[in-house]
Structures are given as C-alpha cells and as structure tokens.
C-alpha cells in the first residue's frame, strides 16, 4: 500500500496539532508502521475480523431492485451484517489491537451517532480493555439507545456540551483529553480524518471492504465493477471501498449528505459545497464561513453530520479520480424505503445516501454493467428518525 510522504495527500492532510501531541503521534506512527506488516499482528487481527466480527461479508445481488429499475446489476457489500451492525468494527479492532501492543491502558474515542462508540466499546471489551467515549450532548439525546449500549459494554460516555454539541465538538473534547493524558492514553479515532497517521491508518484497516469487493466481483464477472458507490461523512467506509480500486477502471462515486438541499445551508456536503481549511489536525475541505469559522451541519443521518472530510477524499476530488455527488434527505428516505420493501434489507440512513445514488446511476446504465454499493450499516437505529420524517411529511 502507498504510504503518503509527510502524511500528505497532495496538499491535504498533514499534522496541524498542538506540540504536546507530537510525541504521541510519532509513537503511534512508529508502532503502526512496525505492526501493519507484522505477521503475528495480521494473523491476530484476521482472527478477530473473521471469528468475532463476521468477515468476509457477502456481496449480495439485489435482484428485485435491479430488475425493477431495469438497468445495471446492483450488488450490495453487506457491511451491515458485521458484528455491531456497521463497518466501524473493522477499524476499532485494528486500532484496539494496536493500542494493546503499544501497552496503552486507557482508550478514548469520539462518536457521532454512536456507531463508532459502540464498535470501540465492543472491540475493547473483547480485548480486555477499558474505553471512554466523548459524544456531543445533542447526539446523546438523538441516539439514547447507543448510549445505553456503550454503558452496558462497560464504557463511560462523556456528553460534550461545548460548541454545536455534535461530532466535531466530541472530537475537540477527545483531543483535549488526549493532550491532558497524553502519556497513558490511546486515542481511537473513528473516521479517516485527523492528523497523520490517522487518515492512512483508518484507510488501511477499512480497505478490507474494497479488497473483498475486488475478489468477489472477480469470481462473479471476472473483472472489477463498472461503478462503485459509498456514502461520505468523514469518509471511512468510502475510503476503504475506494482505495483498493483507484488503480482499476471502475468509476468511483462518493455520496455526501445534501440535507435540505445544497443551497439551503442545511447540509453536510463538504466536498460538494465546501472550501479548503484546517480543522482537527488536517488540511482538507471544510464547511466554513468567509472568516474561517467552521459552520454547523445538517443531515438526517447523524453519522454524516460532520463539517470536514478525510483528506484523501479531498485529494481524490481535486485529482478528479473520484466523483462526489450528494443526496437530499427526501431522496434518502425514498431509497431507504425502496431497499427495505424490495429486498427485505433495512439500510442505515448513512448507507441510504449511496443507495439513492445507485438507483440514479442504474437507471442510466446498461443491463450488462455492474454497480457495487457499500451498505455500510444496518438501519435499525434509524427507525424512529424515519417514522418522524414520514409523520412530518405525511408520506405514510
């Protein structure tokens, strides 16, 4: 795998961090480089990914949906079937195992919707470690169930009441904790964001998704898919899907949350509507005002509600290797209902953004073509949100 020099993807990425964190970041990078190709480490991680998390995940041909649309064949990469119900466990197992090898006794993490927090709590429980999770106060209310799940898994949840009280503030607070307890604490970051080496490390741990897609499609079609699609918030499931395929001929599309529409200011479409800036230790596209103040975001899916994006996505946007589109809340609800009814699969609202795009692409493509969509998580957590939306918009 390519390793970015100085942690840079073109001009993006890097390490914009308080000096206190430099030794910790350097220690992390050194250990990551040491263990990522270590046979024993890889074997242990593979074991947990297979026997604990449930890898490999199936690549499911969505026959009913594909035939109804009448275009390309749509395949779903079923990350929703993983333990915990989302792709997040790929990364938390990798990092928790690394933290253990580094002899770190205390794990901290941030979470938005709670999926990464739950996946951290699970990985830490399985590996016999203790985790503390920072979560925006607003999110602890929106996603109460995940707070209970984390508590039951033996993990302390700290509600964050500063700023917009959502994911970006949870990251700020986790970084502040790390600065304070830098000597014994491992920060288990959940998306492909933050200072180097996090974006590359999270990408590598999530690349199992794209690598499996490659070999599964080879068995089915003897080639890579014509199109691959994944949703992008911070962008971890997307980078894991895309990265192993960037050197292929596949068309690659990332889908951001357009919320109430790109012109409404009520969205989280960082790459589609943002500008370059520095946040959370990285140079990347951001949603910000003219003065460089980071603005608040909106998405029907809490997991995409983030004003930044992984720096490698910023690089793929500018180099035009990946196209970044967006889906509005209403398109997402339609996609959610369509997949649920046609295939009996309830997708997470995050993943429903990718489904919405897949439906659009399939309509315009030939029956001989294939589309792979990463179904990053299951939608059980979103039922209430969907019900509320339907009630409000009288679609029942």
């Amino acid at each position: 795998m390519r390793y970015p020099k100085n942690g840079k993807f073109g001009e993006f990425g890097g390490k914009y961090i308080p000096e206190t964190l430099v030794p910790a970041i350097e220690e992390l990078e050194e250990n990551y480089l040491k263990f990522k190709n270590n046979k024993k480490f890889k074997k242990e991680l593979d074991y947990y990914l297979k026997i604990y998390a449930g890898r490999p995940t199936p690549l499911y041909y969505a026959k009913n949906l594909s035939e109804k649309i009448g275009g390309a064949k749509i395949y779903l990469k079923r990350e929703d079937l993983l333990h915990g119900g989302a792709h997040k466990i790929n990364n938390t197992l990798g990092q928790a195992l690394l933290a253990k090898k580094m002899n770190k006794k205390r794990i901290i993490a941030e979470t938005g919707a709670g999926q990464h927090g739950v996946a951290t709590a699970m990985a830490c429980a399985a590996l016999g470690m203790k985790a503390e999770v920072y979560m925006g106060y607003r999110d602890t209310i929106r996603q109460k169930q995940n707070v209970f799940r984390m508590n039951m898994l033996g993990c302390d949840v700290h509600p964050v009441k500063s700023g917009s009280k959502t994911l970006k503030d949870a990251i700020n607070e986790a970084i502040r904790d790390w600065i304070t307890n830098v000597e014994n604490t491992y920060y288990l970051l959940g998306s492909a964001v933050g200072p180097h080496p996090y974006p590359v490390m999270v990408r590598d741990f999530q690349s199992v998704i794209g690598n499996e897609i490659k070999s599964q499609m080879k068995k089915i079609n003897n080639k890579t898919p014509d199109t691959v699609i994944a949703c992008v918030g911070g962008g971890s499931n997307a980078i894991g899907t895309f990265y192993p395929l960037v050197d292929s001929n596949s068309e690659i599309i990332g889908v951001e949350a357009a919320g109430h529409g790109l012109k409404s200011k009520m969205h989280s479409a960082t790459l589609s509507a943002g500008s370059k800036g520095v946040l959370h230790g990285m140079m990347t596209y951001l949603l910000q005002d003219k003065e460089g103040q980071v603005t608040e975001t909106h998405s029907i899916s809490a997991g995409l509600d983030y004003p930044g994006v992984g720096p490698e996505h910023s690089y793929f946007k500018d180099s035009k290797r990946v196209k970044y589109h967006s889906a509005t809340d209403s398109e997402v609800i339609n996609a959610f209902l369509t997949l649920t009814r046609m295939e009996g699969i309830i997708p997470a609202l995050e993943s429903s953004h990718a489904i919405a795009e897949a439906i659009k692409v399939a309509r315009k493509s030939k029956k001989s073509e294939s589309i792979v969509v990463t179904l990053s998580g299951r939608g059980d957590k979103d039922i209430e949100e969907v019900q509320n939306y339907l009630k409000k918009h009288d679609k029942n």
Binding site: N6, G14, E183, V278, G292, V294
Partner: protein, 266 residues
C-alpha cells in the same frame, strides 16, 4: 528590531522579566476589551496577547472556550478586530500578539492576513495548532514582517526544541503542563525542570515564556525563579473580566496586574 524584541531588551537592561497577559477580544464585548487593555497598561503589563475566537479551539480549556463562543455570538469579525487593534495602537506602544488558530489565517491567506494585521499594529502571532512541519508558507509570509512564536511542551524532544527555537522569533512559548489552557493543578516539578532544560538548550538566543495554568503572583514568582524570561497569564484574566462590572474593570485589571508584575522584578 520588532516591538517584542525591543521590549525584552529593555526589560533585560532593567533586570526584569516579562509579564504577558491574554485577553479574548469581544468578551464579553468590545468595550470591555478596551477597558481591560487600559487596565493592563496601567498595571504595568509588558506584552499583551489578543485572542481572536475560533469555532473549534481544541487547545483551550473551558474558560477560553466559553469566551470564544461568547465573542463569536457577539459578532467578532476580522475587520472589526483590526479596527480595534488600531484603536489600541493609538493609546499604547506596547507589543501586541495575536493568538488564534491556523484556519483563521489560512482562510484569508497567510500573506494577506499577516500584512493586514501588521498594518493594524499586530507584532507577532501564536497559533497553537501550527506545527513546525506545516509552517513553511506561514513563516515565509511572516518573515521580516511579524514575529512567529511557536509553542513547545514539557515532552518535546531536544532535537525538536532546537528546530522550533530556530523558527521562533520574539520568544519561545513553553506550555507548562500537559493539558489545555486554564487548567489549575499547582506548579509541577516537571514544569520547572522543563524551563531549566529549555533555557539550557536555547542558550539565551531567544527568550522563553511559560504559560497555561498560571494564575497567581505565587505562580509567577516560582516560574521566574526557575529561569523563565516571561510568564503568561490568560484564563485568570478572563475569569476576572467575567465577574467584574464594566465600570470597575479598568481599575480591577490594573491592580491584579500590578500584583503579578511585582514578581517579575528581580
């Protein structure tokens, strides 16, 4: 010679150390910032850091976070800030340092921001999330224009301290404790050791200032005794501003400053 360098030379001649204060502009409003600055000058402050708010101040503790949020809510903008600096410049020749986060400068363009700030009367910059690795463009824009004050920490390695000291002008900012700004945990031995270590490594080529968690005359005294060339007090000032009525602000800040300043005269 910049105002900051002149100030250290002047203090050195008098056998004094520098007292540096931090105030967040627009907290709780612009009028109180003016009064606070007047009080600081009256009280004998040597250098003033003006904080410009950022939406995501990840190196700051609760006091500065709160001041940041309020300042933004009150409508603090870059243009207004430069106008305020000009106003302060008419009253005093004291060195003024802008402390904010990298994105505020980056989003306007380093060169453009720095030259406008300089025109308004800013002498130097402190950016807690600007690492030496990412600083090329920033340093280029500031060269011969304004001082670039970098931070180091008690856990910074020898090689890095030397590298960072080379890129710093004005002074070197030593973070006293592992933690964010305003955390009060008493003076640690490792902080005092860090001063001695950094002073030794930098061989008096650049003054060393210490800050984070410094709030009392006793704190200032201990750090001066350990060899610091400057002591920086931030959150304690914001707390005082927060609880003092506007009409008493100038005098309260002046007397608080006098008590701190006494400890820097050896």
């Amino acid at each position: 010679m910049t105002r900051i360098k002149e100030k250290f030379a002047e203090l050195n001649a008098k056998n004094e150390k520098a007292l540096i204060s931090y105030v967040m502009v627009g907290f709780p409003n612009e009028k109180s910032t003016i009064s606070a600055v007047r009080g600081l000058v009256k009280g004998g402050i040597d250098i003033i850091e003006l904080g410009f708010p950022f939406s995501d101040p990840l190196a700051d503790g609760p006091v500065i976070q709160n001041a940041s949020t309020i300042s933004l809510e009150k409508g603090t903008k870059i243009k207004k800030f430069f106008a305020l600096v000009k106003k302060i410049r008419k009253e005093t020749d004291i060195p003024l340092i802008l402390m904010t986060y990298t994105n505020i400068l980056y989003s306007k363009g380093y060169a453009k921001f720095i030259s406008e700030a300089k025109k308004a009367g800013i002498d130097g910059f402190i950016l807690p999330d600007m690492s030496i690795e990412e600083s090329r463009e920033y340093l280029l824009a500031a060269k011969n224009n304004a001082d670039t004050i970098f931070l180091i920490s008690p856990n910074t390695t020898k090689a890095r301290i030397e590298k960072i000291a080379k890129a710093s002008t004005g002074f070197l900012y030593l973070v006293a404790v592992f933690g964010t700004t305003g955390v009060k945990s008493g003076i640690k031995k490792y902080s005092l050791d860090a001063i001695k270590n950094v002073k030794k490594l930098t061989k008096n080529k650049i003054p060393v200032g210490i800050g984070f968690g410094v709030s009392t005359p006793e704190d200032v005294k201990k750090y001066v005794k350990a060899g610091a060339d400057a002591v920086i007090v931030g959150s304690a000032y914001l707390k005082l501003i927060d609880k003092t009525p506007q009409n008493q602000l100038e005098s309260k800040i002046a007397s608080f400053t006098k008590n701190l300043k006494k400890q820097t005269i050896i």
